[in-house]
């Protein structure tokens, strides 16, 4: 009768899923908010750190100025000469200088307002001690190099991490959080869109026209594409932010891991998406979702806390457990050197688990989607 195309129906389902979401103001709004938060998190610390320039230290004499110049600190110090103690402490009180270095009874006094940064204090203390000892040594007939012979201390690490600890932890939590929030947010949307189709009974027409498996596939793929798109936009924006604020050290470590993260993300997300769709098909009304999505929430939340807060050996185990590995393995790769076979093995395990979960999910989905009478439990669905 017509030109009947034998196109794959799941493509059509996925298309509808995507175009509906892209017109949904809530979805666009929440993406924009997430984007803003990430940009703030990336850019603001850099701006705050970079805004100071060298810290100003008030001094009252040449000796003090020399110590301040000698002291080694992040951006160095700048000595501000003042006439006397009173004017130096006035500058401290006004916040014009970070601290004042004043001659004391037996050496020096670091004068601060309400507190003094410990790094700053340490740097001044060390410079004062060095200069003082060199002066004392000169009196005793020792040159500065003789004085310092055999006293230098160098730092070496057995397992040097790619990033400083705090930054690595921060990026690790950030990545896990991105996976957690995206998987949870999209998961709830998948469950809702399934239950909406059940509530409005449109599922009856859909199921008469195409195989139920195609419905599931279309939903899973459409939402995975959307989630991946969202992640790519956010990741891209944060990388541009890092580059723009000159945080190239962090960028050079994150960029190679980003590719791995995408693979882990997609596989973990697809496996979960199958479960979320089942959570939707077990329910008959929106109100049922609270209980039917509970297992999905647990499956996400427990590995999230594990991969963020667990000790290093527990993290190593978690980085091979499906779903947990989506968060733990990219995190480990940021904080320690991981041999390449480990992420590959983790991906193989995750892939196998994803196939199993999707198959089980498809079976449960087929059994429960057209049951509009009442909410079903997972046990009933498995037994039926």
């Amino acid at each position: 009768m017509n030109d009947r195309t034998l196109d794959r129906p799941w493509v059509l389902i996925a298309e509808r899923e995507i175009s509906t979401k892209l017109r949904d103001k809530t979805f666009i709004g929440s993406t924009a908010v997430m984007l803003l938060l990430v940009l703030v998190a990336v850019i603001v610390p850099a701006l705050l750190a970079g805004s100071g320039g060298p810290d100003k230290i008030a001094v009252v004499d040449d000796a003090g100025a020399k110590i301040v110049q000698q002291a080694r600190h992040d951006d160095g110090f700048e000595a501000v000469r003042t006439a006397d103690r009173a004017s130096a402490s006035a500058l401290v009180a006004e916040g014009e200088v970070k601290a004042a270095l004043l001659p004391g009874d037996d050496g020096y006094v670091v004068l601060g307002k309400d507190r003094v940064d410990s790094g700053l204090e340490g740097a001044l203390r060390e410079a004062a001690a060095t200069l003082g000892m060199e002066t004392n040594a000169a009196r005793a007939g020792l040159s500065p190099s003789e004085l310092h012979a055999g006293t230098s201390v160098k730092l070496e690490l057995l397992k040097p991490g790619p990033l400083p600890d705090i930054v690595a932890d921060f990026v690790n939590i950030g990545l896990a959080l991105v996976f957690y929030m995206t998987a949870l947010g999209f998961g709830m949307m998948i469950a809702q869109s399934v239950v909406q189709e059940k509530e409005s009974r449109v599922v009856e027409i859909l199921a008469a026209a195409v195989p139920i498996r195609s419905l599931l596939w279309g939903k899973v793929l459409g939402n995975t594409a959307l989630a991946l798109g969202q992640i790519v936009v956010i990741a891209g924006a944060s990388m541009v932010g890092l580059a723009a604020t000159d945080q190239l050290a962090i960028l050079s470590v994150i960029a190679p891991v980003a590719g791995w993260f995408v693979v882990f993300f997609v596989l973990g997300f697809v496996a979960l998406a199958g479960l979320w769709a089942v959570a939707g098909s077990l329910a008959t009304r929106q109100e049922d979702l609270g209980s039917t999505t509970l297992p999905g929430q647990m499956i996400l939340m427990i590995p999230f806390f594990f991969s963020v807060f667990a000790g290093s050996s527990a993290k190593t185990v978690a980085s091979f457990v499906p779903i947990a590995s989506s968060m733990a393995m990219p995190g480990r790769m940021l904080t320690e050197k991981v041999p390449v076979w480990q992420p590959l093995l983790a991906i193989a395990i995750l892939l196998a688990a994803t196939v199993l979960i999707i198959r089980l999910g498809a079976r449960l989905y087929e059994r429960t989607l057209l049951q509009t009478g009442r909410r079903l439990s997972y046990r009933e669905a498995l037994r039926a």
Binding site: M1, N2, A208
Partner: protein
């Protein structure tokens, strides 16, 4: 031709369909009637593949119905359902494509149907903002958009006023080509009588009557009605008929021997003025009551 053979469906202990067989002939509208809970919706859902049969099968042109063939069917479920928050034009195009139409063709058909249903100006409105009557129109358009090879409509006219029913019937007549079998269920027997060519009566999961409406309404014996100017009591003495009722000049009688009604008419004309003579049609509701008793 769409046919079901030996269809049986159990829900736990309950037997919803018991060995149901009937044909839906192309180009003829088949009415599917029965009391609430008789099993109409269950049978229709099995035909559309959204429910599995316990036993029996659904055939299309004498071959078991496949998913590919079924994809061309049009279906209007009893519990109406479309996407409440989707624009009606997008929605109809989507369903057209879901049933296998090319995107352009789906758009063309959608625009034609919306025009035909008087909903062209509302094409970009979201479904839930339409009145219930208009939502029902969109629903039937969703069943027709892909020029279905067969139509299964579960209570398509319920909730519509008589004018809307007429408009819908016109649309169906226009859209349904002679090669399309149509099965529709209804409670409104007068409507079924007016629209249907064939009838399947279901009672407690069993087919209790099936066949062309005209034959079912006529019954197994022919009943005639005669009205004369004067007394019709003489009929009681005529051979080959059985008188049901005589009241003054009005009589009802069953014809037992073939063609005897002609000689009755001749006698009546010989005796005086004949005001009325003809077969007495039994109302479908009587057939229905009789069959489902």
């Amino acid at each position: 031709m769409l046919s079901v053979a030996g269809l049986t469906r159990r829900f736990g202990e309950q037997l919803a369909l018991d060995d149901v067989s009937f044909d839906v002939v192309p180009g003829r509208m088949t009415g599917f009637v029965g009391a609430n809970g008789a099993g109409k919706t269950t049978a229709m859902r099995i035909i559309l593949g959204v429910l599995a049969a316990t036993a029996g099968e659904v055939c299309w042109n004498d071959r078991p119905l496949t998913q590919d063939v079924r994809r061309d069917f049009g279906y209007m479920p009893e519990e109406r359902g479309l996407y409440p928050k989707m624009k009606i034009r997008d929605q109809l195009v989507f369903f057209g494509r879901l049933h296998g139409l090319e995107p352009l063709r789906a758009a063309e058909r959608t625009d034609k149907l919306l025009e035909r249903l008087g909903l062209a100006e509302r094409a970009t409105d979201v479904l839930e903002t339409l009145s219930l009557g208009n939502q029902q129109r969109v629903q039937i358009a969703a069943a027709l958009v892909h020029e279905p090879s067969a139509l299964v409509l579960d209570e398509p006219f319920s909730g519509l006023d008589p004018l809307a029913v007429d408009a819908m019937v016109d649309l169906l007549r226009e859209e349904v080509t002679p090669e399309v079998p149509v099965l529709f269920s209804s409670h409104q027997l007068d409507l079924v009588e007016r629209l249907c060519d064939d009838l399947v009566v279901l009672s407690r999961g069993k087919v209790v009557a099936a066949g062309p409406v005209a034959e079912l309404a006529a019954g197994p014996t022919m009943t005639y009605r005669l009205v004369v100017d004067g007394d019709a009591g003489w009929l009681r003495d005529v051979e080959g008929i059985r008188v049901r009722d005589v009241a003054g000049g009005t009589a009802l009688f069953d014809v037992e021997d073939a063609a005897v009604e002609q000689s009755v008419l001749e006698q009546a004309v010989g005796r005086g003025r004949v005001l009325e003579f003809g077969p007495e049609r039994v109302a479908l509701s009587d057939v229905f009551r009789e069959a489902t008793r």
